[in-house]
């Protein structure tokens, strides 16, 4: 692994790969920046390899990620860090303590001055880092509450952030104690105007942080309560739904009691108030008059004209009348003829019909029989005559 030999080399490398690095930085949350994507961004594979060699980026399976060291540096400088790291403050407090000790023990003015300078720088940093941490904390609390979909994780995260808050608070207290109680000798002896200013400034910053932290604490408590309430409701609904589906809800809970006590209007059917109209109003008001006209018009339109009704059908038409008519049954006549042994004309003339049949009609019956039963009769070639009729002699076959 290579290391950068100078700041110049580091900066120029970063500058050369700015496109790739800024792209990767933007996508750091998704953690899935593929090696192939990176290849598209740079001209040559060697350049990625060189970044890997200098451990600016790191391969992770098929993916690439920015090395933690650089990532933290970028996040810190750009003030977008997600993680609240309180170890920096802790470190600085320790640093201040050490340097104060050196300062008090050192006799050389020059060296003393350099320790004093370190102390000043450390104080400046403490103020700055604390404020930044508080801002990060606030943002993180809100982000977590609004964006984390899983209730259990959300709760755990918020509790974790609350612990961070307590830590920051205790560090502020430590710094305060350091300034106002523990190192009195130093602050009295190092009569430096700038130091005094820095201390006052730091204290102001810390004070501001403390106020912010109180607000954050309130916020976290409220959020936690909301989560507890929400998940409580979800849990409760699930249980109640279960009991309801098991048909046990009436016997096992106080549902009946609760509902008996609850007389909210929403549980009632929609009321209607059928009121009679005021007669005075109907007689005097113009709007009412208009309405009456409208209704009256509608009522008129609905009138149906009576259709003229026809007279009753007289009973005479409905009475049944019987009319008898005697029909000649040709079949029976034929049967009689077959049994008789006479020729057809003679038989028909002599047949005793149920009614009186004149000669003309008897001739018609003769013709009907002869044509209808031609198949069973024997029509001969002999002819007889009676009156003015000449007829063929027909015998049964």
């Amino acid at each position: 692994m290579n290391t950068f030999s100078s700041i110049k080399e580091l900066l120029s490398t970063l500058y050369r790969e700015q496109k790739l690095l800024s792209e990767m930085f933007e996508k750091r949350k998704t953690l899935s920046y593929k090696y192939d994507f990176a290849l598209e961004m740079v001209d040559h594979e060697d350049r990625i390899q060189s970044l890997i060699n200098h451990s600016v980026i790191r391969p992770n399976g098929p993916y690439l990620e920015i090395d933690d060291q650089f990532l933290q540096f970028f996040e810190m400088v750009l003030e977008v860090n997600e993680e609240i790291n309180i170890s920096y403050i802790n470190e600085n407090i320790q640093n201040v303590k050490d340097n104060i000790l050196y300062y008090l023990q050192e006799n050389n003015e020059n060296r003393k001055y350099s320790y004093l300078r370190t102390v000043k720088a450390a104080f400046r940093k403490i103020g700055l880092i604390t404020i930044r941490n508080v801002v990060d904390l606030k943002r993180n609390v809100e982000n977590t509450f609004k964006n984390e979909p899983n209730y259990k994780i959300k709760k755990a995260k918020l509790e974790n952030l609350d612990r961070k808050r307590i830590d920051i608070n205790s560090l502020i207290d430590q710094t305060e104690r350091l300034i106002s109680e523990e190192e009195q000798t130093f602050f009295k002896s190092a009569l430096d105007e700038e130091l005094k200013q820095i201390i006052i400034h730091t204290r102001l910053q810390l004070n501001e942080c403390r106020h912010n932290l109180i607000e954050i604490q309130k916020q976290i408590i409220e959020y936690l309560n909301q989560i507890k309430y929400q998940s409580g409701i979800i849990e409760k609904i699930r249980q109640i739904k279960y009991l309801k589906d098991q048909f046990e809800i009436r016997s096992k809970t106080n549902l009946i009691e609760v509902l008996a006590k609850n007389n909210a209007a929403i549980l009632e059917p929609n009321p209607s108030y059928p009121l009679k109209l005021s007669l005075d109003y109907l007689q005097t008001d113009d709007v009412a008059y208009e309405s009456i006209k409208k209704v009256s018009k509608r009522v008129k339109m609905g009138v149906r004209l009576d259709l003229p009704i026809a007279e009753n059908i007289s009973n005479e038409y409905l009475e049944t009348q019987i009319e008898e008519e005697i029909q000649v049954n040709l079949e029976e006549v034929k049967n009689g003829f077959v049994a008789s042994g006479k020729h057809l004309f003679e038989f028909v003339m002599g047949y005793d019909f149920a009614k009186e049949i004149p000669f003309d009609e008897r001739v018609t019956i003769y013709c009907q029989l002869a044509s209808q039963y031609e198949a069973v009769f024997n029509v001969t070639e002999k002819f007889n005559a009676q009156r003015e009729f000449e007829f063929a002699l027909v015998y049964p076959r």
Binding site: G232, T253, V258, A260, N263, A264, I266, L267, E268, P269
Partner: protein, 189 residues
């Protein structure tokens, strides 16, 4: 006693079993909320004269009565309906509550990836007025909620609904039901 001039509107709304919520999307309702908030004591006394109790809930107002006007069975039926719907909606989104915005298509999309939600929607068919299609059942259920004034249609074009503060009433009702500890232990996780 000083009665605001909006009392008629307040009565008309509340006596129908509706709510007046602080986060309604309608200006008029919001203004009514402010009016009630300002004249609460006077109005409370005034409505008591006609046998209605003006109740202040969590960001909403509603009416109740001193004694019941409906039989218990009807109340239980209504409560059962709400429990079914509430269970469905909370399964759809854990944070479903006052201020939540959604569209019916959000629910439809979730149906495809959540089998539990689908089962629960099947269970809601009995409130769906004989509808068979999922989108129609959802529409029907949302209609029910909108009619009872728990949600409002906020944007007709995108068909976005907003849950209003009266939803707290439902949650409060459910929370008021007490399940004895030994019964709780019988319920599976």
């Amino acid at each position: 006693m000083q009665i605001p001039r909006q009392t008629v509107e307040i009565f008309e709304t509340l006596s129908k079993g509706q709510f007046i919520c602080s986060n309604s999307s309608f200006d008029l309702t919001r203004r009514l909320y402010e009016v009630i908030d300002e004249y609460f004591d006077d109005l409370h006394e005034y409505f008591q004269g006609i046998n209605f109790i003006l109740e202040r809930g969590d960001e909403y107002f509603c009416f109740s009565r001193a004694e019941s006007k409906v039989d218990l069975e009807r109340k239980i039926e209504t409560a059962f309906k709400w429990i079914d719907i509430l269970d469905f909606l909370k399964t759809f989104d854990n944070s479903f509550g006052s201020g939540f915005r959604f569209t019916p298509s959000d629910i439809l999309v979730k149906l495809n990836i959540d089998a539990e939600l689908k089962t629960k929607l099947d269970g809601l068919k009995k409130h769906g007025g004989g509808k068979e299609k999922y989108d129609e059942i959802i529409e029907k259920v949302l209609d029910l909620l909108a009619k009872d004034n728990f949600i409002e249609i906020e944007n007709e074009i995108s068909n976005t609904y907003k849950v209003i503060a009266s939803f707290n009433y439902l949650e409060k009702l459910v929370m008021a039901i007490n399940i004895p500890e030994e019964v709780k232990n019988e319920i599976p996780e």
